[in-house]
């Protein structure tokens, strides 16, 4: 009985959670005139016109490609530098370790607005403006600390005897780390990749500041195009729905990893 009440509560919560997203889906399948003309709980004349426009207009769909490129780069960079660092934090005591750990985290605390100008200057000095790598590097500022923190939790859950045995068996550090250790925390790597993907995908200020046209993210294109054409609710909703799709695909593919990762770690 009690279990059933819980499940009911959970179902109710998920229903409420999906409602705003459903409403946007509803809007995206209708024309703007239809949306403003009649109030309807579901689309009566389903049209894919909004989606077709986005998929055929380069200024729209290139935004999705740009976002996907820099987010993937960021996830790859964050994971590859955070893995050895997290190992160091979980296994060793060294000069300044605690301070360094907290310092990393302070990089998530700076208000972006004023830092954008020096950021722009710094990246243009290196000729990186309007490249995907610039956004990927800038996002490392908040993703690398988080990745280190999450991975450290998973690594501390692996007993140190495994390392010791491997070293006695004659493994060097790099081969031990890649062949034995990383597979052990596979699920943790999955969870970390999900978090890096997520925070890089949703960030707008840095991505917009560091790009002009060639690497412009979809979220920025949405704001620009909308203000230029007046508000086309249908088109805006379709673009919004499409920003959810890549993330939803990622979680769908890693869902088993994610379930296992969340089960084994303290994240």
């Amino acid at each position: 009985m009690k279990i059933r009440k819980r499940t009911f509560g959970l179902a109710l919560y998920f229903g409420l959670l999906l409602l705003p997203i459903y409403w946007m889906l509803n809007m995206s399948l209708r024309t703007n005139a239809d949306i403003l003309g009649v109030f309807s709980l579901y689309p009566t004349d389903i049209t894919f016109g909004n989606y077709i426009k986005i998929f055929t207009d380069k200024s729209w769909y290139s935004g999705y490609i740009n976002s996907i490129i820099y987010v993937s780069m960021n996830t790859a960079i964050s994971l590859s530098v955070a893995l050895p660092a997290a190992y160091a934090f979980s296994r060793y005591r060294f000069l300044g370790d605690k301070h360094l750990f907290f310092w990393l985290l302070t990089n998530r605390m700076a208000p972006a607005a004023v830092f954008l100008l020096p950021f722009f200057q710094l990246y243009s000095t290196f000729g990186l403006i309007d490249t995907h790598i610039a956004v990927a590097l800038a996002h490392c500022l908040f993703n690398v600390p988080l990745a280190v923190w999450i991975l450290e939790g998973f690594m501390s859950g692996i007993p140190r005897e495994i390392d010791e045995t491997a070293f006695i068996d004659g493994f060097g550090f790099p081969s031990f780390f890649i062949i034995i250790f990383i597979p052990l925390i596979r699920a943790g790597v999955g969870v970390t990749a999900f978090f890096c993907f997520m925070f890089s995908w949703v960030e707008l200020l840095f991505a917009r500041t560091l790009t002009v046209t060639d690497a412009k993210p979809i979220a920025a294109i949405m704001t620009r195009t909308v203000s230029a054409t007046g508000l086309d609710w249908g088109l805006l909703s379709a673009a919004g729905i499409l920003t959810i799709v890549p993330g939803a695909l990622v979680i769908w593919f890693v869902r088993n990893h994610l379930a296992k990762g969340f089960a084994m770690g303290r994240v």
Partner: protein
């Protein structure tokens, strides 16, 4: 478990240090530099010392924004942390429901922040939005563009909708890491559900809750895009949070000096509170372990 003591571990953290420092240190020093100067244009600047800091600290609009910010972040933590824990406790532990719940929970987190604002504009508009139309259908006048209270309610709904899943995901991972034997022991002892929660589950979630509280505090204190899209800081100044006010000064009026001083004070406040939370949560855990 004692860690090995070895300063060579620095080689392992060096890449992280370099990549973060590249983006962190030079911009930070530039902002410190701005905060001490009056800048009119390229090459035209004068050293003013602590002038901007004094001016910023006595700006009453900033004080108002700061109190609003504390109220907002406080409410966010008070609602989202308990709600997230409740959701995590109610989630299934095995079977297909686990994947389904995780995927559903993650959806709001994956939407770009300005799109979140857009979704809620569409959802709450009285003419085309489900929420707006429904609440007006109940004969309650609700308009987040003219009533400050309604604007706050809408913002809180949006914020809770957007971020509670993060707390729930983290809490769930903490709960799943507790060995089943603990629950069996509690059952044999005849512990109530509350006692099980208070003495087994809550202490075991300390690590993940520390991360959840810190992340939610930092991100809600820095919130910008969502309220900017939804309310633009209005009606009046009722939802002008610190970052919205900061952007008004930095971009709207292009007062780099005061804006830089403001950012540094802002940064120090977040740093101070995060550190306090961090210390407090670490110490709470120690008490539990000994007891």
């Amino acid at each position: 478990m004692d860690k090995w003591e070895d300063n060579k571990a620095w080689f392992l953290v060096l890449p992280v240090f370099v990549i973060v420092a590249f983006s962190a240190i030079i911009p930070l020093m530039t902002v410190v530099n701005y905060s001490l100067q009056d800048i009119w244009g390229p090459g035209q600047r004068v050293f003013v010392g602590a002038e901007w800091f004094k001016e910023t600290l006595s700006d009453h609009r900033l004080h108002d924004a700061l109190w609003r910010q504390f109220l907002f972040s406080g409410m966010v933590l008070l609602i989202e942390i308990p709600l997230g824990i409740m959701i995590a406790l109610a989630m299934p532990k095995r079977g297909w429901g686990v994947s389904a719940s995780l995927v559903t929970l993650a959806l709001p987190l994956l939407i770009p922040w300005n799109v979140i604002g857009t979704i809620w504009i569409i959802f709450t508009r009285p003419d085309i939005g489900l929420f707006g139309a429904a609440i007006n259908g109940l004969n309650i006048t609700f308009d987040h563009t003219s009533s400050p209270l309604d604007a706050w309610i809408t913002l809180m709904f949006m914020e809770v909708w957007h971020w509670t899943p993060l707390v729930a995901l983290l809490a769930y991972s903490g709960l799943r890491a507790i060995p089943e034997a603990y629950f069996q022991a509690a059952k044999i002892d005849g512990a109530s559900a509350w006692a099980t929660f208070r003495y087994i589950q809550l202490p075991k979630m300390r690590g993940v809750l520390t991360i959840a509280i810190l992340l939610r505090f930092m991100d809600s204190f820095l919130i910008y895009a969502e309220p900017f899209v939804l309310t633009g800081g209005g009606p009046g100044n009722s939802t002008t949070f610190l970052s919205i006010y900061l952007v008004k000064i930095a971009v709207g009026q292009f007062d780099l000096g005061p804006a830089a001083a403001f950012s540094l004070i802002y940064f120090v406040i977040i740093l101070l509170f995060s550190w306090l939370f961090y210390q407090a949560l670490q110490n709470v855990g120690k008490g539990e372990k000994n007891g």
